[in-house]
């Protein structure tokens, strides 16, 4: 009897999911984004009764390995969240489906409504491989009151102004106090300063490092100067037990960080400290500067046999109203201007600087080797900060390391052009 019941239940369940032409879409997402999909997907399934989405949560720390292993084993999902710096890598693997045709054929994903720098991260050699899902960039979090006390009523807009303020707020006389916090375990602050320059980070179609260019050396000198003048402490983020209370305490007046800290600071700082902090676009060498175009995109795997359904899900998640709900659930910033025009984001004074900055973001070099080069940037910059290497020596060292990493790429490109 019990067996019959179980059997009947199993059959019923089976019917429910695989009835007739039900498409089961396999969707991999990471961390918090995967969690909140439970809230958004029922709406999608209601709109598309034939599609059932099977969600798989992948932890960020293991995502890269898991995806590569899945590719090697031929078990990639239909649709996946991908950090946009990983796209060139998966394009090199020929794992991703080009999306130009689909974007052209549907009205749901208007390319010109997206922030251009973010959209650009998904375009490799002229072909589109992903649709931005949410954006990430780095800019200034600063303490209004401390700046005010030092005699400045508005945040800096150029490096010169910024330096004046860094020098001024630091004169508080307390050795544990610093003007700015640049976590040494992150390459993004330096990369953002370097992307503000006219010189690209790699030259000759991503064949060689371009770190000895005047532009990169200018960015590196400024970065190193901030440490050597004592404006920034030589610390990694793990060394600051609670970066939010430290910021609230005034241990530093500036902090280069990303959008997730809007939510964290709102949550963690007591109400009386809330008016003291604000965000500002990143100052450039002369006038407002650009920053790094980060974030995650949605991609469709080439091996998938359910690409139409995958595209429908992408188009659903790209709707401004869905993106606003997504923002409310995760705090992730939407990549479309339309999503910013309404709702909580429009009135969020801390998000405003991000809105402005997003019009001025530049993609990191789109080569599969970028993540490894970025790691080297961080390691070499750390040595320059500690004074082991001069700026020129560090630039030369970085170039040598990048050139070595890019050796295979040069060989492949040379072979292709033969």
């Amino acid at each position: 009897m019990a067996l019959a019941v179980i059997l009947a239940l199993a059959l019923a369940a089976g019917c429910r999911w695989s009835a007739a032409d039900d498409t089961v879409l396999r969707f991999w997402a990471m961390g918090r984004e995967a969690e909140v999909m439970a809230e958004l997907l029922p709406d999608f399934e209601r709109l598309h009764p034939g599609i059932h989405v099977k969600m798989q949560q992948v932890p960020w720390t293991a995502a890269h390995e898991k995806l590569l292993t899945a590719f090697a084993g031929g078990t990639t999902p239909d649709i996946c969240q991908l950090g946009n710096t990983w796209i060139p890598e998966f394009v090199a693997l020929k794992a991703l489906e080009p999306l130009d045709r689909l974007v052209g054929a549907s009205s749901g994903v208007p390319a010109d409504d997206y922030f251009p720098g973010i959209w650009d991260t998904n375009v490799v050699d002229g072909t589109l491989y992903g649709v931005p899902w949410y954006v990430d960039t780095r800019l200034l979090f600063y303490r209004r009151d401390l700046l005010h006390r030092a005699g400045f009523s508005s945040p800096p807009t150029s490096w010169d102004e910024w330096k004046q303020m860094l020098a001024a707020v630091d004169q508080d006389g307390r050795p544990d106090r610093h003007a700015i916090f640049l976590p040494l375990n992150e390459f993004e602050p330096l990369a953002a300063l370097a992307l503000q320059q006219d010189d690209p980070l790699l030259r000759d179609g991503g064949r060689w490092g371009n770190f000895q260019s005047a532009g990169f050396r200018r960015a590196l000198s400024f970065y190193v100067e901030m440490f050597q003048r004592g404006w920034a402490p030589q610390l990694a983020s793990a060394a600051v037990a609670n970066v939010w209370t430290a910021f609230g305490r005034g241990d530093f007046s500036f902090y280069i960080s990303g959008p997730w800290n809007i939510g964290e600071l709102k949550r963690r700082l007591p109400p009386d400290q809330q008016p003291t902090w604000m965000t500002a676009p990143l100052p450039g060498p002369d006038g407002p500067g650009s920053s790094i175009a980060g974030g995650a995109s949605l991609v469709v795997f080439r091996s998938s046999r359910r690409q139409t359904a995958a595209w429908q899900l992408i188009a659903f998640l790209a709707q401004p109203s869905v993106q606003r709900r997504f923002h409310a659930l995760t705090g992730d910033l939407p990549p479309r201007r339309a999503a910013w025009r309404d709702g909580a984001l429009r009135d969020d004074i801390h998000a405003r600087a991000f809105r402005e900055q997003l019009e001025r973001v530049k993609p990191a070099p789109k080569v599969p080797e970028w993540e490894r080069i970025a790691t080297e940037i961080r390691l070499v910059a750390e040595r320059a900060v500690h004074g082991d290497l001069s700026v020129d020596r560090a630039a030369a060292e970085l170039n040598a390391r990048a050139d070595r990493i890019l050796e295979k790429r040069r060989w492949l490109l040379a072979r292709k052009s033969e």
């Binding site: 590569l68 590719f71 090697a72 890598e89 990694a236 060394a239 993540e371």
Partner: protein, 292 residues
Amino acid sequence: MRLPGAAWGFVAPALLVIAVFFLIPVLAALALSFTDFDLYALADVANLRLVGLRNYARLLEKPLFWQALGNTLYFAIVGVPLSIVVSFGAALLLHSRLVRFRSFFRTALFAPVVTTLVAVAVVWRYLFDTRYGWLNYTLGSLGIRPIDWLGDPHWAMPAIIVFAVWKSFGYNMIILLAGLQSIPDALYEAARIDGASSWRQFRDVTLPMLAPIVVMVSILTTAGYFQLFAEPYVMTQGGPLQSTVSVLYLMYEEGFKWWNLGSASAVAFVLFLLIFALTVLQLRLARWEEAA
């Protein structure tokens, strides 16, 4: 000596299993270590190049490899003796006639060995927590300032060692306990009749009788400790400041994070040679000691 046909028939299944699951993969990895198998080769095998010994040369030039080797040596040099001393101590206590509930303690001390590493690592991360951890709480009550166990480059490796020793000492303890129990009582009796103190009995009966087992235990432990991986992978991801990157962790990153299987295989073979050389050295030392 020639094996008759029937004998070959009997060993064939075992040989086949060894060949398929050990010999062929090892030879394939060796071959891989002479190529530049990477992401591009994963996309298209035509992108594979034979590079001879370049992976090995590059590895020896790499500062991170030397740091990883240093970290691994640090872990092994401190960890192996510590682990053996702790196991030995535990085995002696369990062997002592004064201990009651012997089988309970034996099970309790052996329990860490059979627990899941990832699960207990989570518990240990709580113990090591800077602010709320029990370890810092205890140190604090002794008036010692809190230590950032897993976040400070100087303390991360000691923390990993403490965890690894706790996790593994039970295994050696059981082997040593078996060794202790196999020493004939007659020897102790004779020693007592000769008027030997318990310290003399330990030095001149227990230790020499146990020496071969201690040699074996130290070889196994050294080989195991050189393959440090899961502890830093779960607890620190190689950080802070790469202070807990072990040789095997480096291999994992090269192979599965960056998918440079060529250079990852080279790391594996360097590690193999290292462990092999150390084992030979330990055996030589033991034999030399025996002869002396």
